[in-house]
């Protein structure tokens, strides 16, 4: 009798565990931009991605966002300055439906970075991630520092020179 009860308990536990195993990938996220998003610091680039409901039922309340990491420091990057659109919220994705995602990001600092798109569905403990996109941000060459220096230094000097002449002329007139 005890053996039967133990067998039934084991079977019941395995039945309960099954939905967790089949629930692992209801969403598929794919970055549509080129695998390499190279650019120069200061550039604005658009990251496009797609999210697909792979199940046969609609999925509600899906939040998608970017996760950016610095490849050199191995630290996540704060997107405060990089992107105005931090997260994109989708109310419902119908069964089998594919929706486009788009983020505009501003390359702030030169370096090597890795980017993934993360999708979280309400009630699902496991987030879905895209494949990693690696890109390199080149340092920005200044616009025309060679031209600004003569003006930045020259204008106050020219004004000072004019001021000295005016004062000298006034003093000689008075004398």
């Amino acid at each position: 009798m005890v053996l039967i009860w133990v067998c039934l308990h084991v079977v019941a536990n395995s039945v309960e565990a099954e939905p967790q195993a089949s629930d692992k990938s209801p969403l598929a996220v794919q970055i549509g931009s080129t695998r390499s998003l190279n650019g120069t610091a200061g550039d604005y680039v658009t990251i496009t991605a797609q999210i697909r409901n792979t199940t046969s039922r609609p999925i509600d309340k899906v939040t998608t966002y970017l996760s950016l990491a610095d490849e050199e420091t191995k630290l996540p990057v704060d997107l405060e300055d990089w992107s105005a659109e931090k997260g994109l919220f989708i109310e419902t994705i119908d069964a089998g439906q594919t929706l486009p995602l788009q983020w505009k990001i501003h390359f702030v600092k030169p370096g090597a970075y890795s980017l993934i798109v993360v999708a979280e569905a309400a009630g699902n403990d496991v987030p879905q991630t895209s494949t990693i996109t690696r890109f390199y941000v080149k340092p920005k060459h200044n616009l025309n520092p060679g031209h600004v220096l003569p003006v930045a230094l020259g204008m106050p000097v020219v004004l000072l020179f004019i001021m000295v002449i005016v004062t000298y002329k006034r003093n000689s007139k008075v004398a």
Binding site: A41, G42, H106, V108, K140, N142, L143, N144, P145, H147, V148, L149, V151, A152, L153, G154, M155, P156, L159, L160, M163, V164, V166, T167, R170
Partner: protein, 256 residues
Amino acid sequence: MFRYIWIKEMKGELFTWKSTLWLIISSLLLSFTSYSFLTNKELCLLDQTEMLWLLGEIIVGTGLLIVAIDASSTVTGELENETVESLFLSPMTLCDFVLGKFLACLTLWGFIFIVSVPYMLVTSAGSRLGSAFISYVFLLGTLVVIGFILLVFTLSFLYRSSKNTLTTSLIILMALAVPAVFSSTLKNNPFGWLLSKVNPVDNAFSALDNVLVDGQTALSQNWPFLLPLLIFCLLMLAFMAYSVRCFSSEGIIRNE
């Protein structure tokens, strides 16, 4: 007759090294700003159009500040030093006096603009916005400066005290300039929107944004910003006419 007042004021402004020091300090401010914009690691990440917009705001802001301070003492100085009585003994009308002082203050803005032209040229190099940048800074700066000089003159004739006029003018300038640099999200509510529509400094800065960042360089595309500026100037002219009328009815020496 107003020419004599204008030339006298200009001579007073430019014939001593102390009185032209502000022009050199303005030039140093523009030198530091434009050099930082083009060479600083963080600042040079700005789009060139945004850089021009910020520089335009600094030029107009500096012009407004200097003109407000100068205009605060130009009329009241004559009243406080009691030199206005000898001026009115000459065949000169109150209109000549006001016009001469007004042109002298406006000339200061002209000097600031001339000094800022090389900076505008060097920062706008390669953007194809150079001529639009210089023209609109001149147009918008002149309109907002005219309105502000008239406002300060109104206060001068009402207060007859340079200290009170200067304090009130600077507070009004701050009250107009601070909301003008708020982000657009703060202007989304009805009060913020209304404030930005009637604020002349905000209209000048928004017009610069429209021209430089959004590329709307035609005059017809900037009427929504230019019209409130023109109304501000006309309103200030009416206020000044009223204060001059009060001044002439009360007489030079007010019985208090």
